[in-house]
């Protein structure tokens, strides 16, 4: 019979190996948890969409009106505002983009990467899809005359591509 507070060395030695085994399992489990939790996913969809919009609004190769070969930010050349131009300017983008240009009671719509844009129905799932919808007040140059307009840019991107 054990005395209260006594230390049974033989029993402790017998338990050493099962304890080491359990410690080993716990160690591996903790290591795996640390390993996976430290592999953080940085979602850069918002920065990326901002960068691509800068290309639309500032790059001379996109839709800007040029005066004496100098692109004028904020003024869209209506003749350049077509699918081919935008597709060249944003070549191989992973965003599905819909441009809606409203000016003088006219509406012009262009969609890039339609299949991705159609995924906007899943915009409620913010973990899977990045969605953005913004209006920009711009000027439109049509045959030399400047008109007020609003350009709506809707951008959709599947986040699984960013993982």
């Amino acid at each position: 019979m054990h005395k209260r507070g006594s230390f049974d060395t033989s029993m402790e030695l017998g338990l050493l190996f099962p304890r080491l085994f359990i410690i080993g399992i716990v160690f591996i489990a903790v290591t795996m948890i640390i390993d996976t939790s430290l592999k953080m996913n940085t979602d850069v969809s918002e920065i990326e969409s901002y960068t691509l919009k800068n290309r639309i609004f500032y790059s001379q190769s996109c839709i800007l009106w040029k005066e004496h070969n100098r692109p004028i930010p904020g003024i869209i050349d209506i003749e350049k505002f077509n699918e081919q131009n935008l597709d060249t300017c944003l070549k191989n983008t992973l965003f599905g983009i819909k441009f809606t240009l409203n000016y003088e009671n006219k509406t012009k719509e262009i969609e890039l990467n339609k299949r991705i844009y159609q995924q906007q129905i899943f915009c409620f799932d913010k973990d899977q899809v990045y969605c953005e919808n913004k209006d920009y007040y711009i000027l439109v140059n049509e045959k030399g005359s400047i008109k007020d307009g609003i350009l709506r840019i809707e951008m959709v991107r599947l986040k699984r591509d960013t993982l």
């Binding site: 402790e12 640390i34 920065i47 691509l52 800068n54 290309r55 692109p71 300017c89």
Partner: protein
Amino acid sequence: MNKKGVEEAQLLLITYLVLNVVILLSLLYIVQKQLDGPDASKTFISKDHALILDTLYNSNGDIELAYSSKNKYEFIYKKNTAMVKTEKLTDTPASYKYSENGIYNPIDISLKNYDDKSEKSCKILFKKTKTDAVAIEKTSVCNGEQAE
């Protein structure tokens, strides 16, 4: 309990204590390695490089950007994808896609930010001029020192 039993018990407790310290130090080492090592940053760097290329393609003027990294990496830019690999041969590259600008020639470059014989990692230079395509090259500036 006799004297021998007391000694054995103390030895056992010391063994457990040493084991605990070893496990704690191992875990701290693993965490530090994961946070500091080249593997931890390569996903972030691939995204960073893709965003840099997106930005270069936006520019109307000339741009030069030197990118430094304390770790050794191999960078591959192909088919509008920026890939980053560590120097380990079996390493799976981290990749992220960028959007090209159709008026420029697509990039197809592979380069390392280190020399095989050197321990230093060098800066990578992203360059775009008004007329030429985007160029990426290794500079002679390594680990904050100007090479001769």
